[in-house]
């Protein structure tokens, strides 16, 4: 249920950067989200359509780049992917490992349109 506050944060960061760049419109937003972040893309999209209405971001497309969760075993150094749940090293069965990727949660870039400046 926390997708609404997440979506509001995305909108606020996008608008701030769009204004700084003198955008007339935001056409797309790239988000990088690790597998270990508990966010449902569909819900974010649903809220997005509602809360971006009437702003520079209205109609902007949300692009989600999902990063798989990659772990490294402390005992045999094997690198392995996991889903949302915790699983042991597939090579040696050890539970001792550290996270290499999967916790990413940021707004990477926005694509904007600008009205052409007229030089005289």
């Amino acid at each position: 249920m926390h997708e609404l506050s997440v979506t509001e944060s995305i909108l606020s960061i996008a608008l701030e950067n769009a204004k700084k760049a003198n955008a007339s419109k935001v056409t797309s937003i790239s988000l990088v989200i690790g597998r270990l972040s508990s966010i449902v893309d569909d819900s974010v999209q649903f809220y997005w359509d509602t809360i971006s209405e009437g702003t520079l971001c209205e109609g902007a497309k949300l692009n989600f780049k999902r990063i798989p969760a990659l772990l490294k075993c402390h005992d045999c150094q094997t690198e392995f992917e996991i889903g949302r749940e915790l699983t042991p090293c597939p090579n040696c069965g050890s539970y001792r490992s550290s996270i290499l990727h999967g916790e990413e949660f940021y707004l990477d870039s926005i694509e904007i349109e600008k009205d052409e400046e007229v030089f005289q």
């Binding site: 997440v6 944060s9 960061i13 769009a18 760049a21 749940e85 949660f105 694509e111 349109e113």
Partner: protein, 223 residues
């Protein structure tokens, strides 16, 4: 019209992180040691807070900020009855507390003379893990009847903890619960995490937790 890509690279929850830092500064200005208590609904957060207050009532002033999804003051009333200040914050249906909500709560809480501030987060094992509040430590109350597989199913919340409580140990004979399996999962997510098994009902094990808290508060004051 021309399409332009503008690089941003900003953490989605950066505004929350900034507000959390402001909360931390306010607490530090008043020398108040603060604890964010998380748990699933029914794990015994409120009983745990009341036990803690009972043990420290003659030596510390403990304020409690209660986060609830609905405007009910059941938990806050219990704290006030135990003789400590309590503030209720209603999240309006949201599944977790955010730093801005805690900031509202802090504005209503008399911080002068307070030794410890306890923040009771909304009962939930997923969402509270993502929002920093600015408290000094994160604590989880896990409980025996919830099952021994919780670290495996909700890894995020265990990763961010400073201390773990295993409540309702008095129920161990009645439910299937493999403490070694539970602890193996915790060890993988948060190696060396300090853990206190206890029972808020019988009081067993509460002393060890309270001693630890006393030491933390002392060390915090000494800077």
């Amino acid at each position: 019209m021309s399409a332009i890509r503008v690089p941003v690279v900003e953490k989605i929850l950066s505004a929350n992180d900034r507000m959390a830092q402001e909360n931390r500064n306010l607490l530090d200005d008043h020398h108040v040691f603060s604890i964010n208590i998380m748990a699933s609904p029914g794990a015994g957060k409120t009983s745990f807070i009341l036990q803690t207050i009972k043990h420290l009532t003659n030596e510390m002033k403990i304020g409690v900020i209660e986060g609830d999804t609905a405007p009910v003051t059941i938990d806050a009333d219990k704290v006030i009855k135990a003789g400590m200040p309590a503030v209720q914050i209603n999240t309006g249906g949201d599944c977790h507390l955010e730093a801005a909500m805690l900031s509202d709560g802090l504005n209503q809480m008399p911080l002068e003379g307070l030794d410890v501030l306890i923040v009771e987060n909304v009962g939930n094992l997923i969402c509270p893990a993502a929002w920093a509040l600015g408290t000094h430590i994160n604590l989880l109350v896990a409980s025996v009847p919830e099952g021994d597989d919780k670290p495996y199913k909700y890894p995020n919340i265990y990763r961010g903890l400073n201390v773990l409580i295993i409540n309702k140990t008095d129920l161990t004979p009645y439910v299937e619960y493999d403490l070694d399996y539970f602890r193996k999962g915790v060890e993988m997510l948060n190696p060396g995490l300090i853990t206190f098994p206890l029972s808020c009902r019988t009081g067993e094990g509460v002393d060890a937790w309270v001693d630890w808290l006393r030491t933390q508060v002392k060390q915090y004051r000494q800077g």
